[in-house]
């Protein structure tokens, strides 16, 4: 039973993807219908897995040769993320019915979305590192193909390529780690690895640990690999919500959380994770406050919020990271889909062109504000509880400087959240837009997410039972409280007060920004730096440029002259002879 459910949660969306890939674009209504049906069924199937959580391997197929066994284990962490991927995937597909109305190539769009959902569930459910990498790369492909969905737009093509190349480059770290594990243990099984990681030589384990960190940072858009995420905003908005906010970008956090017990003892690793998390959280918030594109603002805030999760793993609070992951997945999907409704209505992503939309789109405004409250970490929506828990754990187990930066980041988050809401929904309308509030399918997707933002924190106790019950290697790192315990814990912790004060200061700072006008000169430099992405964009361009230059230079060696080619043969033969003599 469980094994069929596990397989179907991967293969049902893939079957849908196949059908839609073969479908004709002349029947768009049918395509919408089929895609939603498959997405809904996948969501329901994933929910059915909840009571079946187990630490046993339920599927194991011998792949032969050096490919090990293809195994799947639906433990608490896996099923938790499966549900998030499938349910938010389902809502994103429903949202797309309105958002993608009248677009061409719907078959390609929906088949890639469903392929993605299946890959994501496969990635979290498998316990073979080979398959982990396999699904990891498939997600990267889907992400790339969907970012470049509007292939006629050069920006979309460039954004897709950038995302693909950067996440794949990071993936090399994951690949190296998986290969090392196999060469020492003779298996790709993650459970076995967690049990026997201490038997690996120290250098091998640290290559693995840092390789996985690189892979995770690239996938979760963490500094210094974060630059692909803003470019990914060229994707249709439901894709940004699903892949680039709620699910795929969490894969890095999942990876770190999954392997934390094995790597925690590697010297310098936890510090490195904390540094990556803090830098991303803080720099992401600074960039978000200067951005003027609505989706890019949300993208920077995703980088920043993922930084909080990474930081939580770094200080050893695996549970807090997953709890924040849940909150973030829900409220960020809500914010992106809300932004999608706005963009769909006004036809631009530039917040400077918006303003005063609140009256015309009351429904979207209301749900968007709920999402913003959670993003800013204001009581008592889900983002508040999880962010406070992360900060509290950080203060207790992490270095103080990191905590201070994270709290400042929370203040900045509050400021840019308020700025975003104000620029979009309030103030004076910059342009006359003939806008309408969200249509039915969009509302169907937004309402559950808004509700979820208000209440998912009540699931804290349930989540801790789910995780503690089936993750034997993580038990000592979970610090998982029950719901009531969490409430008491957070409300009485001094860290909460500090955070609330800073958040309030952030809100006030933006509200009374005119008072600080004299400071704007001083702020110009950091703002310029943030606008330039702190030089990381420049670094990307240098790397790409020098690679292309090397290509151009090498092309010169293909001269087309026969005598030159003959010289290559003669010269090569002499070089080979030299090497052979050296070895004899």
């Amino acid at each position: 039973m469980t094994q069929w459910l596990v397989l179907s949660v991967i293969f049902v969306p893939w079957l849908g993807a196949l059908l839609l890939a073969l479908s004709s674009d002349r029947a768009p209504r049918l395509q919408h219908l089929v895609a939603s049906a498959f997405a809904v069924v996948t969501g329901l199937l994933s929910l059915c897995l909840l009571p079946l959580v187990t630490e046993r391997t339920v599927v194991s197929v011998a792949a032969g040769s050096v490919f090990g066994n293809f195994t799947f284990v639906p433990d608490g962490l896996s099923v938790f993320l499966t549900v998030i991927a499938a349910v938010i995937g389902c809502l994103a597909v429903i949202f797309s019915i309105d958002y993608m109305h009248g677009e061409a190539q719907l078959g390609r769009y929906y088949s890639l979305v469903l392929l993605f959902i299946g890959s994501m569930t496969g990635m979290v459910l498998t316990s073979s590192m080979l398959l982990l990498f396999f699904f990891w790369e498939m997600m990267a492909f889907c992400s790339y193909a969907l970012i470049s969905f509007y292939n006629d737009d050069p920006k979309a093509v460039a954004g897709g390529m950038k995302a693909l190349i950067m996440t794949q480059t990071g993936g090399v770290g994951l690949l190296a780690g998986a290969l090392i594990a196999y060469s020492f243990l003779g298996t790709y099984d993650i459970q076995t690895f967690l049990a026997y990681a201490h038997r690996l030589p120290e250098f091998a384990l640290s290559i693995m640990a840092f390789g996985f960190l690189i892979g995770a940072a690239a996938k979760s858009a963490q500094v210094p690999f974060h630059t692909w995420l803003p470019g990914a905003m060229e994707a249709p908005t439901p894709i940004s919500a699903l892949i680039h906010a709620a699910t795929m970008v969490n894969a890095g956090v999942y990876l770190l959380a999954r392997f934390y017990p094995a790597f925690a003892a590697v010297p310098g690793w936890t510090t490195a994770v904390v540094v990556v998390g803090v830098l991303s959280a803080f720099l992401g918030a600074v960039m978000a406050i200067t951005a003027s594109d609505l989706k890019r603002t949300l993208a920077y805030s995703t980088i920043s919020q993922l930084g909080y999760m990474v930081y939580a793993v770094g200080v050893g609070a695996v549970y807090a990271s997953q709890f924040h992951l849940m909150s973030h997945a829900v409220f960020k999907a809500l914010l992106f889909l809300g932004a999608g409704a706005v963009i769909h209505a006004v036809g631009t992503r530039d917040m400077r062109q918006m303003g005063g939309l609140g009256q015309k789109m009351p429904f979207v405004r209301n749900v968007f504000i709920i999402g913003t409250l959670a993003l800013a970490g204001l009581p008592f929506v889900n983002g508040f509880w999880s962010k406070e828990l992360v900060l509290e754990e950080g203060l207790a187990h992490g270095p103080l400087w990191a905590y201070i930066l994270m709290v400042l980041g929370a203040g900045l988050t509050a400021a840019y959240s308020l700025r975003m809401v104000y620029m979009v929904f309030y103030g004076t309308a910059k342009k006359e837009h003939h806008v309408h509030d969200a249509p039915a399918a969009m509302r169907t997707a937004l309402a559950p997410l808004a509700l979820g933002t208000l209440v998912t924190w009540l699931l804290a106790g349930w989540l801790s039972e789910l995780l503690t019950g089936s993750l034997p290697y993580h038990l000592s790192h979970l610090h998982a409280p029950g719901t009531v315990e969490l409430i008491v814990d957070v409300l009485t912790a001094p860290a909460t007060l500090v955070a609330i004060v800073v958040i309030a200061a952030g809100l006030l700072a933006w509200w009374y920004r005119d008072l600080f006008a004299s400071l704007s000169k001083a702020a110009a430099l950091p703002a310029a730096m943030a606008g330039a992405d702190f030089g990381f964009e420049w670094l990307n361009r240098v790397i790409v440029g020098s690679t292309l230059l090397a290509g151009s230079v090498l092309r010169l060696t293909q001269t087309g002259h026969l005598s030159w080619n003959a010289l290559g043969i003669a010269g090569g033969a002499i070089a080979v002879l030299g090497l052979l003599v050296w070895g004899s």
């Binding site: 050096v66 290969l179 690679t547 290509g551 090498l554 080619n565 043969i569 090497l579």
Partner: protein
């Protein structure tokens, strides 16, 4: 010994059929009906290949039943042997040869001298099978030369086209120069050991200066055909200018046959030097880097694919080098697995590009090259061909769930298992190269799925069924092998073991 007949049939059928195919085509040309000659010679080719297939299946069954690592059979002064590597190469050559014969039905229609085309194609397939089964150095050279001769004619098939002539001339001169180096190397080995038999040479070879020189000449000579950098300069021209079915054969199996010939030759000289593994790994790294970087800047699709073949030869050579250096079969198995996968994927890529080239240019009598911008928006009119092309190039780029991912994985596993710091760096380098290669594969996929079609696509003609069938078959193979790599383990494991066995019985 029952299998001796099957071996003989396998090797001889295609070669003997080739002149018959030509004659049948000529005869039917006399009838004067349009298409009669091409239909007749195509049908004859298929019959000849069917006979070869039967012998091949016989051999495979015999081989699997016997416990020997190689079936040997000597007819007159020609020793033949079938081991895992022969079966693998012969199977790949037959598969691609058959599919290309089917594919060429409409592609080559209206060309002058179709009967020659089919005869040469079947002869080339036969030569590769013979090469796979050769057991002495000189016969290896003869098969190699027959393969080269047929491929010269096929590359320069469009003899009215200047570019095609130029490619043919360069290919002929460089390849012939290479094969004269091989011949000199064989003479040197013969001088030193007094025999041409691979096994007996292997038993007595030591590192004398003459043998070292012979080794270098083998690498350079066969390296020309196997497209090792810096012997590769003919390849982009020849592969891009040949008729697309031939490009698929050249990239998918001819350069691999060159690699197998190289392996056979140096396996006999294994004891001459310690640096064979290092040498192959250096060539692997060079090929990957040069192929990928030059491909990044290409605008013509076929030329781009030709450069990508360079980098894929690099992967195979790297796997083999790891195997020789570390003395484990894993790298060799991965290398030959990649050999199969590359044959299927690159074959598919060239067939798909050829189909689009046919629809956009050739059917209108134009011999313009197909550029990436020509492909814009092709998906709407040619969903199958563009899907095939996308799957093929993404598989070449090593994305799952496609075949290329699994074979690259196997090679990299072998590299890490070698437990050597430098080889580990090479593994990382290879993985990064795989990422780099997406930099030129992905734009092709982007182009075909654009919504605004190019002028060429708007005026394109339709695709015949004879082109679609081979593409569908290869497409399925590429996806299935990506999901279930164990499916060809019966081919790759014996081939890997055969390589290790010929290299001195690890």
């Amino acid at each position: 010994m029952y299998y001796s007949n099957a071996i003989l049939t396998l090797v001889v059928t295609p070669l003997l059929s080739a002149p018959l195919i030509y004659l049948i085509g000529r005869l039917f040309m006399r009838t004067g009906r349009a298409g009669a000659a091409s239909n007749a010679s195509q049908l004859a080719s298929l019959l000849a290949l069917a006979g070869t297939w039967k012998a091949y299946i016989d051999i495979v069954l015999q081989f699997n039943r016997s416990s020997a690592t190689a079936l040997r059979y000597i007819t007159g002064s020609v020793p033949l042997q079938v081991d895992g590597l022969s079966i693998l190469l012969a199977g790949l050559a037959l598969t691609l040869g058959t599919l290309v014969v089917i594919y060429s039905r409409m592609y080559m229609r209206n060309e002058d001298g179709e009967e020659k085309y089919y005869a040469m194609l079947v002869a080339m397939t036969g030569a590769m099978i013979g090469l796979a089964c050769a057991a002495d150095l000189f016969n290896l050279w003869v098969w190699f030369e027959v393969m080269a001769l047929t491929s010269y004619l096929l590359v320069a098939f469009y003899r009215e086209q200047k570019a095609s002539l130029e490619a043919g001339v360069k290919y002929l001169v460089q390849s012939a120069a290479g094969s004269s180096l091989v011949l000199l190397a064989i003479a040197l080995v013969f001088m030193e050991t007094g025999t041409l038999d691979l096994y007996r040479i292997g038993a007595s070879a030591v590192g004398t200066p003459l043998m070292l020189a012979a080794g270098a000449l083998f690498v350079a000579g066969f390296g020309v055909k196997a497209a090792l950098v810096p012997f590769h300069t003919w390849l982009p021209d020849a592969h891009a200018q040949a008729p697309s079915g031939i490009s698929a054969m050249l990239s998918g199996v001819v350069i691999e046959a060159g690699l197998v010939a190289l392996l056979r030759a140096i396996s006999a000289l294994m004891a001459v030097t310690l640096s064979w593994g290092v040498l192959l790994m250096i060539f692997g790294a060079l090929n990957m880097l040069v192929g990928n970087l030059i491909a990044l800047k290409q605008t013509q699709v076929k030329r781009l694919l030709a450069f990508s073949s360079l980098s894929h030869v690099g992967y195979m050579v790297m796997g083999l080098g790891i195997a020789l250096h570390a003395g484990t079969a894993a790298g060799a198995t991965g290398g030959v697995f990649h050999l199969i996968n590359h044959g299927l994927m690159k074959g598919l890529a060239f067939l798909a590009v050829g189909a689009l080239l046919y629809a956009l240019h050739i059917a209108k009598g134009s011999h313009n090259p197909l550029t990436i911008s020509d492909l814009a928006g092709a998906a709407k009119r040619y969903p199958l061909a563009t899907l095939a092309l996308s799957i093929a190039v993404l598989g070449l780029g090593g994305l799952p769930p496609l075949a290329g991912f699994m074979s690259k994985w196997q090679i990299l596993v072998a590299g890490v298992q070698a437990n050597n710091r430098l080889i580990f760096y090479l593994v990382i380098f290879a993985a990064l190269n795989s990422v780099l290669s997406l930099g030129y594969y992905a734009p092709i996929v982007n182009a075909v799925y654009r919504q605004k079609p190019s002028a060429a696509v708007l005026n394109g003609s339709s695709l015949p069924l004879s082109m679609q069938v081979p593409m569908v078959l290869l497409l399925l193979a590429v996806v299935v092998l990506g999901l279930w790599p164990g499916l060809v383990q019966w081919l790759t494991d014996p081939a890997g073991n055969a390589i290790m066995a010929t290299f001195g019985g690890y």
